[in-house]
């Protein structure tokens, strides 16, 4: 069992035991180990826990980040005040 999976659980203190059905090998030709992705792939598949300053809206900040990283998809997980 790849230990990064356990790291995900410890990130938020989630406890749920794993049951393993069978042993299996993964082929290194496909995909990337989630914590060892090349930076350009990581940029496309990641979360930024951002301390947003008051003033600009969440949408504005998401748009700035999109431009800063030349991405075509950036979202945000919730606003505080929708004015």
């Amino acid at each position: 069992m790849y230990k990064f999976l356990e790291k995900i659980d410890s990130f938020c203190g989630y406890i749920n035991n794993w049951s393993i059905i069978r042993d299996a090998q993964t082929n290194d030709k496909y995909g990337f180990y989630a914590d060892k992705r090349p930076i350009d792939i990581l940029i496309k598949n990641s979360i930024i826990n951002l301390d947003k300053p008051p003033g600009p809206t969440s949408h504005e900040v998401a748009y700035w980040i999109k431009k800063m990283l030349n991405l075509n998809k950036v979202g945000h997980g919730g606003t505080l005040e929708h004015v």
Binding site: Y2, L5, N16, W18, I21, F32, Y33, N49, P53, G75
Partner: protein, 240 residues
């Protein structure tokens, strides 16, 4: 995204009370707001102003100075802190309003882990682009897999991955390991390399899996991995 925005929140908020009050009286009133409350969204709100039921998990009175009160509140998403402050004021008899608000936790993401400012982010991007140093950027970017921290997960075989990215159900033969889950629960589908493939709804309980040789286990609701990263497994299976 929904997984984060639809999960529990925690706030720290400053409330201004419009008259002098006894701290004990305030404490008692705050206690009444823990649990299920009825709340009508404020005038300036983005949802329909219909009275709705929300659950407040906890309110902690952190500090008070004069008429200002600092509180930590954890609640269901969609609960208006502004309204809670207002309603506390009504029960106190003289009114109160919210002065400042900061969200300290959204789902599994809290201020304690990797919180960065826009400034730090822009510096990290600068270091990466101009100096070819990606170490700062790597510190800032959390792999998307952390978003599924709070839900059960299953690990699948390399050959099952691509079919899922095309929307197929996860069937028993592709399953390698699992955490316990109930029927109808959100479950994250992971590869052996720890990558998030999709989030789906479980069609069975994890107890039933042990006796399953075939059949659908998880129906994907949201696929996060791109197609064709893993080889197509189903074509080979058809021939055999």
């Amino acid at each position: 995204m929904n997984l984060v925005s639809k999960s529990g929140k925690e706030y720290v908020c400053v409330m201004q009370v419009h008259c002098d009050y006894k701290i004990e009286e305030l404490r008692n009133i705050i206690q009444e707001f823990i649990g299920e409350i009825y709340q009508r969204p404020p005038v300036r709100s983005s949802v329909k102003r219909r009275t709705r039921k929300k659950r407040v998990y906890n309110i902690e009175l952190l500090e008070s100075e004069g008429r200002l009160v600092l509180m930590r509140i954890s609640s269901e998403p969609g609960t208006y802190m502004r309204k809670i402050c207002h309603d506390i004021g009504i029960l106190l008899g003289c009114g109160a309003h919210m002065r400042e608000l900061r969200r300290t936790r959204s789902g599994v993401f809290s201020e304690d882990n990797n919180l960065v400012t826009l400034h730090e982010l822009s510096e990290a991007i600068y270091m990466y682009k101009k100096c070819n140093d990606e170490s700062d950027l790597r510190r800032v970017l959390l792999p998307m897999e952390f978003a599924v921290c709070g839900i059960p997960k299953v690990v699948i075989d390399d050959y099952a991955v691509d079919a899922i990215t095309y929307g197929a159900n996860l069937n028993a033969p592709g399953l390698i390991a699992f955490q316990e889950f109930k029927r109808g629960e959100d479950v994250a589908v992971m590869t052996l390399k720890g990558e998030l493939v999709a989030i789906g709804e479980s069609l069975v309980t994890s107890n039933e899996i042990k006796n399953m040789k075939k059949g659908a286990i998880i129906k994907p609701k949201r696929v996060l991995m791109e197609r064709d990263i893993y080889p197509k497994g189903w074509k080979k299976n058809e021939k055999t």
